[in-house]
Subunit: 418 residues, 2 copies
């Protein structure tokens, strides 16, 4: 599944979602970030109480998977369908919000739209965010031909008029069902449902290293400032620093572009992204503050260069501190998980408790991390086979998906009644 | 200067060249590789003697330079202009051949068209050669949207009907004036002209490393098969092997693409090119035969991966053995260089000799390396400032360019009269 945000494929699934939601009697509204808000009226609707929302996203990574985000939206529709079919009336409106570009795969700020909603990401920053890859590939000049979020929202017809702002579109709560994307539920004795109480911190950086282009056949080793050799040493050094840090620092390097991209020209410039994470916001900050000076030394003295390279860009593009979720939402999810599982195991509450993993930390970021800053929020995790995500083999069984949807339904209803 | 082969910019300069050559009374013919053959008739023309050709190329690297190849063609035009203006008649026809895609920068076989002319590269291989970068950038599937040489020849109107074959388009000799692209002339006592007697051997490879995509935030270090970390170790190891080999092995890595190219997905696949050179064909062969097994070990056991990566592709895309040039052409160039310089220094032949660098080896490949297999060939080098090439700062002074053109003129005439 390749459904990068705001592509034609994304437009198609959005159109489908809007139809489905309208078919379930929802009011549908699109905001200026293209977030789709579908709400089913509640008994309090005339008095204007804010809705309880189930949020997640429909965009994917370039090569998968089929559950990350999508499960939360599909389950949300199933919850509304169940409420409709059983004629259940809720006190508050209950709805679904589909957040735009959660992955950050095409436009490199993850959860950018929930970030705008909370006021953490300025609308202008989000609208002018440009896609990671220009249409012409790495040989092109920087920025050439790249589309912005706003251009692509307009192109697919999802640039709404509604302000994307927590004060204008308030929520009573935000619940998100998501696949775990990691190995914990599966490896810790086959837990079935996870209650997420916090998310780890992460930062993204865009970095550029410059050396000097030269002819591969006529430039002796002692006259080279090979930006690729420098970058190779830099990224390995950063990983080694992360590994030996001891504070659970995860360093990864991904988007990686080498210029000018010609077989007989020694690379003169390399651009790449760092993704650095830790459960502790403080540990993360302290680690990254020492990272750049360390890596500048490597650039200047890389083992395979005689001439120095330089780090010419070091831009923090995402800063997502660790976030605690809300006790009331956590309680609603915990009780619902226990009740759903108890029913499954014939009322054996002790066994049910064993099947629920409480106090989980999310390794990934989610829109819930932002919404938690402005309204009561928590998340429900279901198992990911082999802990694999952002990969075509990402898989969660039908049974686990259904169970997650039931916990979501009960959690939302419980919160509403409380 | 960015004039990749067979782009619109290349078409423009070709059109200009054809006009110039026709204006000088040349017959112009385009062959099935888009090589342009412009010949000025000689006295022997009715009897069909093959022409003496001055060959080089008009395509460039993605970011430069303005002399590499272009000087040889411009000087060729100047030679023909001088012959015209002085009413000089030659015995054989004298001409210019503009070879297509010499750089190998856009279509990754360098000197591909002189390779076809000699019969070393099959026409079908050359015609179906695809450009290095797809229009959609690294996130795209392999091969998507890439153009072939044949498609681009057709598009710009330079797919000729003449067969590109040394038997059908024979040459009496091939002379090439070129900038040195390296530091030798400049650093060895300000030599002014180089007489090239051979070229070093080189091979190009396209390599792919596969690991497993995974989520950067949820995948612990001990569950990673990060293709980028493996590739970084592989290319550094290859460089280290080249450095310590002791047989003048130059290892470089350039075109480098990382998939899927998303900030929060650990890279699952990396593709890159190796360029490996040595003055000795045998040393080069023996070095590359040990390279792949060495690097496979690194892929499987990279320091920063707990799970193995694999080398899944190892394709030799260019094989250019070391080549000796022809004694008769070398003699014509040597005598011409000495005569041009003697004239400059007022007849002081001893001083003139000091200004000529004999017995040079070309570090770069040139179309002359192929033509030398089928007809007498040699090259003339002029200095490159700072030895810099394949870089916007590539520079050769006007004086050096003019001197080179004079040596070319005399060399061609000398060969013709001999
Ligand atoms: N759930 C998920 O993969 N979100 C993307 C944000 C992140 O990189 O953690
Ligand atoms: N002259 C030149 O840069 N030719 C390209 C072929 C090579 O890579 O050496």
């Amino acid at each position: 599944m390749n459904r990068l945000a705001l592509t034609d494929a994304d437009k198609n699934v959005r159109d489908w979602f809007v139809e489905e939601a309208k078919g379930l009697g929802c009011q549908v509204c699109v905001d200026e970030m293209g977030n789709i808000w579908a709400t089913r009226p509640g008994m309090s609707t005339p008095s204007g109480l804010p809705p309880v929302m189930m949020g997640s996203h429909l965009d994917t990574q370039p090569r998968g998977g089929r559950y990350d985000g999508i499960l939360g939206i599909m389950a949300g529709l199933e919850v509304l369908r169940s409420l409709e079919e059983t004629g259940t009336k809720t006190w508050r409106p209950i709805g679904i919000v589909c957040w735009t570009n959660e992955e950050g795969a095409r436009f490199p700020i993850s959860m950018v739209s929930s970030g705008v909603w909370t006021g953490c990401v300025p609308l202008s920053t989000a609208h002018s965010l440009t896609e990671v890859f220009a249409s012409g590939g790495p040989g092109e000049e920087k920025g050439g031909g790249r589309k912005t979020i706003r251009q692509e929202l307009e192109r697919i017809g999802y640039l709404g008029e509604q302000k994307c702002d927590w004060r204008e579109m308030p929520m009573a709560a935000h619940f998100e069902l998501h696949i775990e994307q990691g190995p914990i539920l599966e490896s810790s004795g086959k837990k079935k449902v996870g209650v997420v109480v916090e998310s780890q911190a992460y930062k993204w950086f865009t970095v550029e290293v410059e050396g000097r282009e030269a002819h591969t056949g006529t430039t002796p080793y002692n006259q080279r400032a090979d930006a690729l050799m420098a970058a190779a040493e830099i990224i390995r050094h950063a990983r080694a620093l992360g590994e030996k840090d001891g504070r659970g620092i995860l360093v990864s390097v991904e988007v990686f572009q080498v210029y000018p991209g010609s077989v007989n020209t020694i690379p003169g410039r390399v651009g790449f992204s760092f993704d650095v994470r830790s459960a502790s916001t403080e540990a993360l900050s302290s680690f990254v503050s020492t990272l750049r000076p360390e890596l500048e030394k490597v650039a200047a003295n890389a083992q395979h260069n005689s001439l120095p390279c330089k780090i010419t860009r070091w831009e923090e593009t995402t800063d997502s501190p660790a976030q605690l979720f809300h006790a009331k939402c956590i309680a609603a999810v915990t009780q619902s998980a226990l009740s759903v599982l108890a029913e499954e195991v014939g009322g054996d509450t002790k066994r049910a408790k064993e099947l629920v993993q409480e106090n989980m930390t999310s390794g990934a970021g989610h829109d819930s991390v932002y919404t938690a800053k402005r309204c009561p929020t928590s998340m429900i995790f279901v198992p990911s086979k082999g802990g694999i995500s952002h990969h075509p083999e990402e898989f969660t069984s039908e049974e686990d998906c259904v169970r997650g949807a039931r916990v979501l339904l009960e959690g939302v209803v419980r919160f509403d009644r409380d």
